[in-house]
């Protein structure tokens, strides 16, 4: 069962990659048709896209960790965290991932990397302070299941995809809104390009969001909860941790729209429209109930 999950995740990664290239292709094509002659722009866009996706595939984990201001855990300060991750990695049958700590009082955690060999787990300072040992083990086991199932690869690619869409459409919308008043001749052409790309992205964004939701189905979280519980042989640890997360009111500054779905539970407490559109987390109550029923 688990091995099917792994191959399906590998296939989904390829699918996301193709989707990403197609998106760049469509934008490049539209811009090319409207403003340029020949195929210079589309080739340029494709090269940039390929370079960008290779970078994100091979160092997406480092980018995400840097974005979250994560620092590597050290044996002296985080003895229990390191021991727990090492032990649970043995139980899950994966190599020991790199371990990071994220600043912030919110209880949260995520895993990233492109394969179990290159994976990292990161937990917030809040999680280390507010969770007891069994709860922390539950959270870590959940993250290790994401690593074992290759969820991290799909989620990382999705993260890059969402990140680019959100980033480009926000920039374009802003430059359209702020730049709309100026009407000198030089900026006019550029403005039209921005507007066109912005409109194309606005049309595409919900479609892409839908496809990403399909890839990162909510089932994935339930599955990680279940296989996490299988690793610790203790569903209550994670259930209690999720309950604490539910009642936790701290925010997490280092999370952004593009990294939100990596976390064990949504790092945003206030709903933003983009976050809701891309929301991939099932309700915590559901997850707690499912764990309690095991």
């Amino acid at each position: 069962m688990l091995y099917n999950e792994i191959s399906s995740n590998k296939a989904k990664s390829v699918f996301l990659f193709i989707l990403f290239l197609m998106l760049i292709g469509v934008i490049g094509f539209v811009v090319n048709m409207l403003f340029f002659q020949g195929y210079v722009f589309i080739i340029f866009a494709a090269i940039i896209a390929i370079i960008f996706s290779l970078i994100s595939y091979y160092s997406g984990d480092k980018i995400v960790l840097a974005m979250s201001h994560a620092r590597e855990a050290n044996k002296k300060e985080h003895t229990f965290l390191i021991n727990a991750v090492e032990g649970l990695a043995i139980a899950a049958g994966i190599p020991k991932p790199k371990i990071y700590v994220i600043p912030g009082a919110q209880i949260n955690a995520f895993a990233c990397g492109r394969s179990p060999k290159t994976a990292s787990v990161a937990v917030t300072e809040g999680a280390l302070e507010k969770l007891d040992r069994q709860e922390l083990e539950g959270v870590i086991a959940h993250e290790l299941s994401h690593i074992k199932n290759y969820d991290i690869r799909v989620m990382m690619l999705a993260s890059v995809l969402v990140g680019i869409i959100v980033f480009v459409s926000e920039i374009l919308l802003r430059s359209f809104l702020w730049g709309g008043i100026k009407t000198n001749e030089d900026s006019k052409g550029m403005n039209i390009i921005f507007i066109v790309i912005g409109v194309v992205l606005l049309i595409l964004a919900p479609i892409i969001a839908q496809m990403i939701k399909f890839a990162i189905s909510r089932k994935r979280e339930y599955l990680a909860d279940a296989s996490g519980a299988l690793i610790t042989r203790n569903p209550h640890g994670l259930a209690n941790a999720l309950r604490k997360i539910k009642n936790d009111v701290s925010g997490l500054k280092v999370a952004s729209n593009s990294t939100a779905h990596l976390y064990i539970s949504s790092p945003f407490k206030k709903k933003q429209w983009l976050a809701t559109l891309f929301s991939t987390h099932p309700l915590l109550e559901d997850r707690i109930q499912k764990l309690e029923r095991m």
Binding site: T79, F80, N83, G87, L88, G93, S227, R233, M294
Partner: protein, 186 residues
């Protein structure tokens, strides 16, 4: 078009059977290798604990003069870990676990010992190693169970007996391992 000759059909079926045998054999070998790998994980952790204990005894000795019994228990159990069958090793490991537990319980009565930095570090380290031993055991036994199930279920059971795959032993002293929890995916 002429129908395929019966010989061709027979050859195709034989070919498919041969393919299946290769596939099944390889998957059994893979499961077996996983068990070996899991065993080495247990071994690493047992060794780690084995190496930590002399340090612990050295640190504790000066403080708990009246608790010689616990210390001898630990030393004896440690010595038994070195050789013996899997069952004996599992038994020695369990004894060591409980002897260490009683030592740490006894240590509660010695505030000076409890305050010792070295002791604190060793205690955390040994607790971590204990849980790693438990987890590596769990991983090992899970793999043994997968393998044993595979060689007992049809049709792999035929291939298993043809190539004389033997059931593997669980790593446990006696009685039952912790029960597997039930998992519901819907």
């Amino acid at each position: 078009m002429k129908f395929m000759a019966p010989l061709t059909i027979v050859l195709i079926i034989l070919g498919l059977i041969a393919l299946y045998i290769i596939f099944a054999y390889n998957s059994l070998i893979r499961l077996k290798l996983r068990i070996d790998n899991a065993w080495s994980q247990i071994d690493v952790q047992l060794k780690r604990r084995y190496d930590l204990i002399p340090n612990l005894i050295e640190t504790v000795k000066g403080y708990v003069k009246h608790e010689k019994k616990v210390l001898t228990e630990i030393t004896n159990a440690r010595a038994q870990l070195v050789s013996g069958s899997m069952k004996e090793k599992a038994k020695a490991s369990d004894q060591l676990t409980s002897a260490l537990k009683s030592l740490f319980a006894v240590a509660e009565n010695y505030p000076n010992l409890k305050a010792n930095e070295n002791f604190k570090m060793l205690q955390e380290e040994l607790a971590g190693t204990e849980s790693k031993i438990a987890y590596s055991r769990q991983f090992y036994n899970d793999n043994v169970m997968n393998f044993n199930t595979a060689i007992q279920t049809f049709p792999k059971s035929i291939i298993a007996s043809a190539f004389s795959f033997k059931e593997k032993e669980f790593f446990k002293a006696e009685g039952k391992e912790k029960e597997n929890i039930k998992v519901n995916f819907d």
